[in-house]
């Protein structure tokens, strides 16, 4: 599957024009990982942004007292992860683990930095996509907590 076609189908990237989708697709490379592969490790500084293309990713948080990994969320194709480290340059707050074989798009930090700081049209479309992912993550957290009131 062409990455551009995948990006075009994701509502998150709706702000990008055809030629911008082409450029973004060229900046992202695809890798496949086996089940249980840890792509983002909690406590370590992330170096790339991931876009899940195929498969599922479990977002896990290590609970030091019980020594177990708590599952926070399951990511579906079209979702980005590894974002927080790239935004604030702090270690990852959770681990992201392949639940079965996965295919991901990888945008290196240099590409992320360029796109997040530039004002070129492609950069704006990308920034809106990043904001969309973070807003979605916040909403997911809020809804989980709202459920505790029921």
């Amino acid at each position: 599957m062409l990455l551009k076609s995948f990006l075009k189908c994701q509502s998150m990237f709706k702000h990008l024009a055809e030629h911008d989708l082409d450029a973004l697709a060229r900046a992202i490379y695809i890798e496949e990982f086996p089940a249980e592969q840890v792509l983002v490790e909690e406590g370590k500084l992330g170096k790339v942004l991931y876009l899940l293309v195929e498969g599922e990713i479990k977002v896990m948080h290590y609970e030091p007292l019980s020594g177990v990994l708590e599952e926070l969320k399951t990511l579906k194709p079209g979702e980005m992860f590894g974002l927080l480290s790239l935004v604030d340059h702090l270690p990852a707050a959770a681990s992201c683990v392949a639940h079965g074989p996965v295919k991901v798009g990888i945008l290196p930090r240099t590409g992320y930095n360029f796109l997040s700081k530039s004002v070129a049209p492609i950069a704006l479309g990308f920034q809106l996509a990043v904001a969309g992912q973070l807003a979605s993550d916040l909403r997911h957290r809020n809804e989980t907590l709202r459920g505790f009131l029921r």
Binding site: E63, L65, A93, S116, A131, R141, R150
Partner: protein, 186 residues
């Protein structure tokens, strides 16, 4: 409010936006004076604008059925209503009500979206502001999770907490968590 006044009152935001974009924000946004007790954002309802609080105090609360929970209060320099802009569903995640008379600078979501074509640098600068803001909120919630873990109240433990008869402890934990997620000062 003119550009110079805005730069004096909100230097950090003004620096990020730049003078031209501050002027544009002031041109596009509407200054709204609100009385005390005004429901600026209704919880779990459609939102059509985001707001920068210029003065006054607003409370943030969560409603679920007949239950409501006061999360905290927001004041000058804080944003509200921006998360629903980016989720795409324009539905609020909490309610915002004025506790005192307040003045906010309100920018319609539609105007923000329309500005993407003519003023991409303005939209870009504000989006970067919101990306940082949402990142801080997610980080804050993670820190709370870790603190809960340290007190044996992590998510698995919170099941115990939520089943507990100690409603005070349950509400206290929930309030702290939601405050962090809403960007409200604890």
């Amino acid at each position: 409010m003119d550009t110079a006044h805005f730069e004096k009152e909100f230097p950090s935001l003004a620096h990020r936006l730049g003078r031209d974009n501050v002027a544009l924000l002031l041109q596009l946004a509407q200054l709204c004076e609100l009385p005390a007790g005004y429901e600026l954002i209704e919880d779990a309802s459609p939102v059509d604008a985001f707001h920068l609080i210029l003065s006054g105090e607003l409370r943030v609360e969560l409603k679920e059925g007949k239950q409501s929970l006061l999360l905290g209060r927001l004041g000058k320099g804080k944003w509200v209503g921006e998360v629903s802009l980016f989720t795409g569903d324009n539905i609020s995640t909490s309610g915002v009500i004025t506790d005192t008379p307040a003045v906010v600078l309100s920018l319609k979501h539609a105007d923000f979206i329309a500005a993407q074509a003519q003023h991409p640098d303005f939209v870009s600068a504000l989006t970067q502001e919101f990306v940082d803001l949402m990142t801080e909120r997610l980080r804050a919630s993670n820190q709370i999770l870790e603190q809960i873990g340290e007190h044996q109240l992590a998510f698995q433990g919170s099941d115990t907490l939520l089943r507990s008869d100690d409603d005070g402890a349950r509400q206290g934990w929930l309030k702290t968590m939601l405050q962090k997620l809403s960007g409200v000062e604890a």
